[in-house]
Symmetry: C2
Amino acid sequence: MAITIKDVAKKAGVSISTVSRVVNDSKPVSPELKIKVMEVIEELGYRPNEVARSLVTKKSYLIGVIVPDIGQSHVANMLRGIEEVGKMYNYDILLCSSYGEMNAELNYLQLLNRKQVEGLIILSAKLEKEVEAYINAFNLPFVFLSTNDYREEYRSVDIDNKIAVYEMVTYLQQLNHKEIAYIGTKPGKKTKAEVKHDAFVKAMKDSGLPSNLVVETESMSKDAGYEAAKELLNGRNHPTAVFCASDELAIGVMNYCHDQGIRVPEDLSVTGMGDIEMASYIRPKLTTISIPYYDIGAVSIRRIVKVLKGEEQTEAEIKLPFQIHKRESCKKRA
Amino acid sequence: MAITIKDVAKKAGVSISTVSRVVNDSKPVSPELKIKVMEVIEELGYRPNEVARSLVTKKSYLIGVIVPDIGQSHVANMLRGIEEVGKMYNYDILLCSSYGEMNAELNYLQLLNRKQVEGLIILSAKLEKEVEAYINAFNLPFVFLSTNDYREEYRSVDIDNKIAVYEMVTYLQQLNHKEIAYIGTKPGKKTKAEVKHDAFVKAMKDSGLPSNLVVETESMSKDAGYEAAKELLNGRNHPTAVFCASDELAIGVMNYCHDQGIRVPEDLSVTGMGDIEMASYIRPKLTTISIPYYDIGAVSIRRIVKVLKGEEQTEAEIKLPFQIHKRESCKKRA
DNA sequence: TTGAAAGCGTTACCAT
DNA sequence: ATGGTAACGCTTTCAA
């Protein structure tokens, strides 16, 4: 049996109230008793039971985090930010992988509820109605890190996708590229896919260039990028550059090029979005928009902690700065 | 204020004992009451408070996991296994990133202790004395997933490094390579680095080949691999193949080759160990020993759950099967 | 089958 | 400054 506050109190010859006071430094205790108690705590190796403590204080110091898949490097990086900053505020993470399934999200939400988490961060392509209803009933500080749908009514943290894509496409144009293709998922209404796609179109139109070279993918994966490249580079189109809505797509495209003997960047310039670790280790190194995933996680949890502390934050959306990393996969067109 | 068991009891006109019984299905309850109670639970949306429950049952359904860095893909994969299988048994993970610092490990251990975790999985290069002492005092089911030091007194899950390396080096020999180099960290006493290095030496000696082409690295990182390649391929040595103790090292080597115009596999065959995701996306695709990280995590937590259930497991070490993936980075020597 | 009550390890209020 | 005690929400005897 573990050492409890009673054991300490008895051995130190004081009441449990006194022990509690020295442990929490919550009320003045005379120096002599304080020292005595601390000695006994040390001697017995007493560690307060957080479960009991939570029950009375109603603070679990737990934050629920639901992600699609921790195996994806950008997810892992967000998690690092969440975890690290959480720890700074004494908060722990209860991590759940939904694998994109709504039922899993629902189950985990219920679990997190029962475990008395104080806040919620959800990373998901979209917020299904059922999930949303549950979260609202839940009534906890909540950050929605959408990978696609825009929901400006919830707290979120992201970069400004519109500006980022516009800048990258403009950079490609500065490199003398005229025929630039876009690879990304279907631009549904009020989605990031739409924002990115529209930014691409605008950047092209603003320069009087055609913006019809678009390949819609099923997902943001490397395999999808590989397939998209196959479709794009079938001989009918002659893009000299391609903007991919994610690094994974871009890597798939580059792999297709490698396998087909298409040289990057000599024959085709490729750009990505995300700046995942692999982007700078793959050869040629990928030119990409760096999304500060770690910071996104860090800011998300900090917002939750702030709300918990009553230091309300008003704006729902927070935009973090991004950077364009110009690396080897793009080249100036003669 | 959340709905409690009392609210349910009052509304259903029964005692809290009865409510508890139907919730846990722990003792017979008459059908009428059962239905009534369930209706009220549904109506009120009652969810048992796990904190209160933990306090009395002394089961937190929490397992503490300390890893160096969740950002590394093999770590993320272990975590996936741990998380997924844990959930199957209703266990949640309390995740802590130590970044390899002993003091962080110590702090987290204390935290996990206070949070009443029921088991412990630690991933670390070595088990420092202080950490070990703490864990032993802790007295919980514990799995030590060492990235280097061997500690056969604790539960562990891994592949058989000796056999794996021997087989890979043998494969290289079958490809007619005679001058094979080894890149890895310093082979300290009772470490995996030693086991791997010794297996390399044995495989070479068994074939009457020289085994002196060894580069010791500071770490297992890509950068370390890059530097090691620089040292190895300086013109004095003429290896035709190199075995790297990790995929990251191998990728660093391949990048150095790319930058220097050394062709892989035509000029140099490269092999890795780990089969991280990048191994099959990098070009040329990396020949490597596949370590089932997901399974290692999965088996680890399953062992803990088994111990918790009293279904003791005797052997400390569990060896999982590995595979050698023969891909593009190796080529037969003329 | 049901309910009352003790108890889990704390904190926090109320006396003293 | 210190101690006694109710309360947190639940499970689990023990009686009935």
